[in-house]
């Protein structure tokens, strides 16, 4: 199980009265094995939402819970994929993936099988002994995803995971993530500022307002995806050409642009 719930969550950085109001009255429920993306203008607090689920930040008011239990601290049941990869540079690819399993006290033989499987799935087998810095950005992020997926977590939290990658690598990674997510569905909270990415990957997309961030609108993508059978297309650009996709994308763009306009930028 992995149900994430935000209940009237506020977040203020600094003192309550004078501090920076990052989030205001966030209400969102992410169902088990649902893929939800949050999009919003930069600085709207979308990353803060994810960091609260991860246990890196406390809510100033309201409750963030997973399966009904309020979150107190970080843990391997909520695996995070960071934008800057955050691999341990002094550990090989294999040891990076292994560490979380060791912390869970998984037996050696089981660890070996699970790591071999995930390395194979992510096309990393031949790089097992490499150090992170010997790999390209796309490969490093693959390792980071493998490190999270191998834990078989209830909840997967992805904080702009493809933000630091170049455009081509990004597309390949998005396609791979779709394959992975459909084959082995998890509850995913995915933060991004790229609209196409959100529409392509997510079951539902939540749009946030500028700071103090509120949830402005939640769009259901899954029903349209299933109706139009997006998953039958192998390439992302084929999906992006579909009228239904264009329509959704334009809708979100407009919504975000209103926020930008309000910001006087």
């Amino acid at each position: 199980m992995g149900v994430i719930e935000f209940k009237s969550v506020d977040k203020i950085f600094g003192p309550r009265a004078t501090g920076f109001r990052a989030l205001e009255d966030i209400n969102l429920e992410i169902r088990d094995r649902e893929f939800v993306a949050i999009v919003g203008p930069s600085g709207c607090g979308k990353t803060t939402c994810l960091r609260m689920v991860a246990g890196f930040e406390d809510a100033t008011a309201g409750v963030v819970s997973v399966d009904g239990t309020p979150i107190k601290r970080p843990g391997p049941d909520r695996a995070v994929v960071f934008q800057q990869f955050a691999l341990f540079p002094w550990k090989s690819v294999y040891d990076n993936i292994d560490l979380g399993l060791r912390n869970l006290n998984v037996s050696r033989s089981e660890r070996e099988t699970r790591i071999a499987a995930i390395l194979d799935l992510m096309n990393l087998t031949q790089y097992a002994k490499h150090f992170p810095h010997q790999l390209s950005g796309g490969m490093q992020q693959r390792v980071a995803i493998a490190r999270a997926y191998v834990l078989d977590p209830d909840v997967l939290l992805m904080d702009e995971p493809f933000g630091a990658l170049d455009a081509q690598t990004r597309v390949v990674m998005q396609e791979e993530l779709v394959r992975l997510a459909r084959k082995n569905p998890r509850t995913v909270l995915f933060i991004t500022h790229a609209v196409e990415e959100a529409v392509y990957l997510a079951d539902r997309v939540a749009i946030m307002t500028r700071a103090p961030g509120r949830i402005k609108e939640v769009l259901d993508i899954a029903s349209i995806r299933n109706a139009e059978n997006w998953d039958s297309y192998e390439k992302i650009e084929d999906v992006m050409d579909l009228e239904s996709f264009v329509h959704l994308r334009t809708h979100i763009w407009r919504s975000l642009r209103e926020e930008k306009a309000a910001q006087h930028v």
Partner: protein
């Protein structure tokens, strides 16, 4: 650096890199000038600076009959032993304290002001106090070496912990690390590039302090050789002592460098990847 790579000069049929050959040539020429100024033309009187042959005879003197209370190997052994002991003792205390201060804001707030008042006092200024407390024997020297090597180890370890990327630390929390494993597999390796910077400084400080402490007062050691040679107005022996100190300093630095290269393999890869 790139410029050097393909530039070779032929020297007696062997291809030698330009940088190395110019370096060797320079050192050869300096030796020639040394010989010319002292033995050759006698421009520099031997009471001021020794000629090569005087230096050689001083080396034979100290390694054979002995000088200043023992032969060369005994002086070298004693100096080296004290530096290694003081240095290891400083690492064993300084690195853990640095880790603690880097990790815990409370420990930092508690300890930092004490450091701020002790740090401006140069390690060499502790020598008279160490002699007052512990006399001219080994323990006073170990105390001052410990002190001089302790401060750089603490400060650099502390800075090293603070330099670990925040996302890397968060990744560790996310993976639910037990405490001991966190220290051993995240904190220490993460801080290790800076820790080694600190250790190199510590080692250098150890040698400086040892020589000074032995010059101020000792029964044996290379500083003692320098001291006695100074009193005897024996320039050849002074030069031998200085060269011995330099070689030991260089050698221990090399050993530390080798340990560093091995321990930071992953970082070399990182630096190479960056260009």
């Amino acid at each position: 650096m790139k410029k050097y790579e393909s530039v070779y000069i032929t020297l007696g049929g062997m291809k030698v890199q330009r940088k190395v050959s110019i370096g060797l040539a320079t050192i050869f020429i300096v030796c020639m000038i040394w010989f010319a100024l002292t033995t050759g033309f006698g421009i520099v009187p031997s009471g001021r600076f020794p000629s090569p042959s005087e230096t050689w005879s001083a080396l034979i003197h100290v390694s054979g009959r002995g000088y200043g209370g023992g032969d060369l190997s005994m002086h070298v052994y004693n100096s080296l032993r004290l530096v290694v002991m003081g240095f290891l003792f400083a690492i064993a205390t300084g690195v853990p304290l640095g880790l603690l201060m880097g990790w815990s804001r409370k420990a930092e707030a508690f300890i930092n002001p004490i450091f701020l008042i002790i740090r401006p006092i140069p390690p060499l200024a502790w020598i008279p106090l160490a002699i007052l407390w512990l006399g001219l024997g080994d323990s006073a020297k170990i105390m001052v070496i410990w002190f001089s090597a302790f401060v750089p180890s603490v400060i650099n370890t502390y800075a090293g912990v603070r330099n670990i990327d925040r996302p890397v630390l968060e990744a560790a929390y996310m993976l639910g690390m037990p405490k001991v494993r966190f220290v051993a597999e995240v904190l220490i390796p993460g801080a290790s590039p800076m820790i080694f910077t600190g250790l190199r400084l510590s080692l250098q400080a150890s040698w400086t302090t040892l020589v000074a402490a032995e010059l101020v007062g000792a029964f044996y050691g290379l500083g003692r050789v320098l001291n006695v040679a100074q009193q005897d107005l024996y320039p050849g022996m002074i030069l031998v002592g200085m060269i011995a100190v330099a070689i030991l300093g260089w050698g221990t630095t090399r050993v530390l460098g080798m340990v560093e290269t091995w321990a930071l393999r992953w970082n070399t890869a990182a630096l190479a990847a960056k260009g």
